[in-house]
Symmetry: C2
Subunit: 336 residues, 2 copies
DNA sequence: CCCAGGGATGTAAACGTTTACAAAGCGACG
DNA sequence: CGTCGCTTTGTAAACGTTTACATCCCTGGG
C-alpha cells in the first residue's frame, strides 16, 4: 500500500553505493558535499525513513528508553512520565513503559534485566525502590540507569530529601501553634519490605515533633494507602482518638483530599477546626486550597530524561537533590 | 558483561540446525517432540531470549502497539492507558506512546503514518479525533486501528454516546426541579476545529433543556478548558449573571472540582445552594461526593487493547458503545 | 520390493541497515 | 616523477532471526 523506500533505492537513483548513502544520511564525515546534498535530496523525494529494527540490529542503538513506573494509578508517576515524554519526543526517543506493582515485579525487573537492556539505550526508574532488593544495579544493567526518587549505587539519581521536607511540613504546623499533630502515611503492607519514601517522611515527622519537645504518639499515626479513600479512612480513625489531632500531615495530596472530605463529613471546618498539609502539589491542590509541599514533578521528569540522554551520550552527570518548598494555602491556620 | 545467547548457540549445543531451533522455539509443527524438548531445555539453560529487532526485521511482527493520546495531562487518557497497559503486559505487547497536543500533531500523525506503521502491529487512538481531518484512515494506516472515543471509518471504535449521556445528566437536574442550569464546557480554542466531544455534550445539554420546554441561554454556558482551574473560572463567570444558575453540568469531573471549590469561595453550599454534576467518575469524585456520569475508563482501555489484539490476530470485531450510568452522590439535590 | 507421501531436518537466502576494510583518486612535496 | 597521505567511495561481511526450498528418512500400500 505505502511503498517504503530503502537505502538501496536511494543508492540506485543517486548512483552511489549504499555505504555512501548511509554515511550521508547520518552526517558522517568523509562524504563530499555534493554527494551528500544529492543523497538528501533523493531521500526527501522518496520519503525515505530508516527501518528502525534494521538499523538497531546492527548498531545496537534502539532510540528507546525503558521507563519503569510503580503503577499506572496515581498522579505522581503520571506527571513524571509527562515530563519525561516531552523531552523524549523532542530528542527522538521512544519510551518503553513497564509498571511494577508488586515486590515480585521488582525482583523480575532485575532477573529479566538482560532482555530489557537489549531493547533500550537507557533505563529510567521512577520510585521503584530497587535499593531494597540490591545494593547496586551495576551487575544487572548493561545500560545507563537513572533513578527518580531514590539513591542507588550504579545509577544517577534525582531525588528529594523526603525526611527534611516532611520535617519542614510538620514544623509549619508547629509554628502555627499545633501540639497534637496527626500523620496520614502511605505505609506499605505489613508483608512488604519497608519502603524508603514513607519511612523517610515518617522520620521527618518525628524529627519535627522531637525537636519541639513533643511526644511521639502511635495513635496519631494512621495508614492511608496513598489514595483519597485511604486518606478519608485514616482521618476517621484519627478522630476516634481520645484526644484527636488539631492538624494532620498527609504524605500525599491525594490522601489529603480524602482527609478534607472526611473532615467536612464530620462537620469540621478546615482550617478553623483542623489544619491539613499535604505533599506533592497535585494539580487539584491549588483549586482545593490545600497547603502542601511542592514536588516539581513534571520538571523532575524532564531532568531525569535529560540525564539519561546525557548518560547515553557518554557524558558524566551529577546527582540532583530537588527542592521541596512549602506552598501555604488555605488549609492551614493558627491553632485555636 | 551479560553473555547473550543466540539461536546459533542453542543449535551448536543441541546439534541441530538453527532452522529447527527457530521452529521448536515458536511451537511450529513438524518438529519431533524429542528435539523440541531438548531445544527448550537448552534454551532455558542458556537463558535464551530472542533478539526482538532481529526477529521483527524479518517477520514484520513488532509486538508493539502505537498508542496515541491527546496529552499527558489529564486523568482520562492516563486511566485509559492504565487499562490498555494491563492487557498488553499480559499479552506481551509493548506500547509506543505518542501524544498529540495540537492540530498540527494530528496532521502529522497522518503524514507520518508510514513510519509509525513500520514500528507497530496495530494502532490505538485515544480521543484523538482524526475524524476532523480525514473521513477514513484506510488510506493512511497499513495496520489495524482502533479508535477510543470516536467513530472512524477504517477503524474499529469504542465510544460512548456523549450526546445521550449529557442529556441524561441534565435530565437528572431537571427532575430535581432545577430551571436555570449552567453548562461548564471543555470548549476548544476559537481557532481549533470544533471537537466532537464538547460539541456532542453541548447538544445533549440543549436537547434536555428543549425537551423540558426551557430556553437556551448563551449566558449560562461557560468554557472551562477541561481543568479544575478552568472550572473555577467558569463558575465565577456564571455567578455574575443577572439570574445565576441553581445547578451546573460540567463536561468533566476535573472542571466540577474547580466548580465545587469556587462555590465554597462564594459561600454557596453544595448541594443546598448549587447542584453540581460532573462527567467521568474521576478517582476523586467518590471521596468528594460528586454526582457524575460514570465512564468506565479503565475498562474501556482494556476493551480497546483486547480489540486491537484481536484485529492483529486477523479476527473481526464489532464496534462498542459503552454505557454511561448516572452515579448519584451528594452534590445534587432538589431545587429550593 | 518399489515407490509415493509425508514428517523431520538442513541449507541458504532473505530482511535493511552499519561498518571494517580495501581501493581509487588526487594533490603536494621531496 | 614517484611516493605519501588524505579524502572519497565501494565491497562485502556482519547483526540474529525467519522461511522458502531442498533433502533425507521412514512407513505403508501396491
Amino acid at each position: 500500500m505505502i511503498p517504503r523506500s530503502t537505502i538501496k533505492d536511494i543508492a540506485r537513483v543517486t548512483g552511489v553505493s549504499v555505504a555512501t548513502v548511509s554515511r550521508a544520511l547520518r552526517d558522517l564525515p568523509n562524504v563530499a558535499a555534493a554527494t551528500r546534498n544529492r543523497v538528501l535530496e533523493v531521500a526527501e523525494a522518496l520519503k525515505y525513513e530508516a527501518h528502525p529494527q534494521a538499523s538497531s540490529l546492527v548498531s545496537g542503538r534502539t532510540w528507546t528508553v525503558g521507563v519503569v513506573a510503580p503503577h499506572f494509578g496515581t498522579w505522581f508517576p503520571f506527571r513524571t512520565m509527562g515530563g519525561i515524554n516531552s523531552v523524549f519526543a523532542q530528542a527522538g526517543y521512544d519510551m518503553l513503559i513497564s509498571v511494577m506493582t508488586s515486590a515480585e515485579d521488582r525482583r523480575s525487573l532485575l532477573d529479566d534485566a538482560g532482555a530489557l537492556c537489549r531493547r533500550v539505550d537507557g533505563i529510567l526508574l521512577i520510585d521503584t525502590f530497587v535499593s531494597v532488593e540490591a545494593d547496586s544495579v551495576d551487575a544487572f544493567f548493561d545500560r545507563p540507569v537513572v533513578a527518580v526518587g531514590e539513591q542507588l549505587a550504579g545509577a544517577s539519581s534525582i531525588a528529594i530529601d523526603n525526611r527534611d521536607a516532611a520535617r519542614r511540613a510538620v514544623e509549619h504546623l508547629l509554628e502555627l501553634g499545633h501540639k497534637r499533630i496527626g500523620l496520614v502515611s502511605g505505609a506499605s503492607g505489613p508483608h512488604d519490605p519497608p519502603m524508603p519514601v514513607p519511612q523517610q517522611r515518617r522520620l521527618g515527622y518525628r524529627d519535627a515533633l522531637e525537636a519541639a519537645g513533643l511526644p511521639i504518639i502511635n495513635e496519631l499515626e494512621a495508614a492511608g494507602s496513598w489514595t483519597s479513600a485511604g486518606g478519608a479512612a485514616a482521618l476517621k480513625q484519627l478522630l476516634e482518638c481520645d484526644d484527636p489531632p488539631t492538624a494532620v500531615f498527609c504524605m500525599s495530596d491525594e490522601m489529603a483530599f480524602g482527609v478534607l472530605r472526611e473532615a467536612s463529613r464530620h462537620g469540621l471546618l478546615v482550617p478553623q477546626d483542623l489544619s491539613v498539609i499535604g505533599f506533592d502539589d497535585h494539580d487539584l491542590a491549588a483549586t482545593l486550597g490545600l497547603t502542601t509541599m511542592r514536588q516539581a514533578v513534571g520538571e523532575i521528569g524532564v531532568r531525569a530524561a535529560e540525564t539519561v540522554i546525557a548518560l547515553i551520550g557518554g557524558e558524566q552527570t551529577d546527582d540532583i537533590i530537588w527542592d521541596v518548598p512549602l506552598v501555604a494555602r488555605e488549609s492551614t491556620a493558627e491553632a485555636s
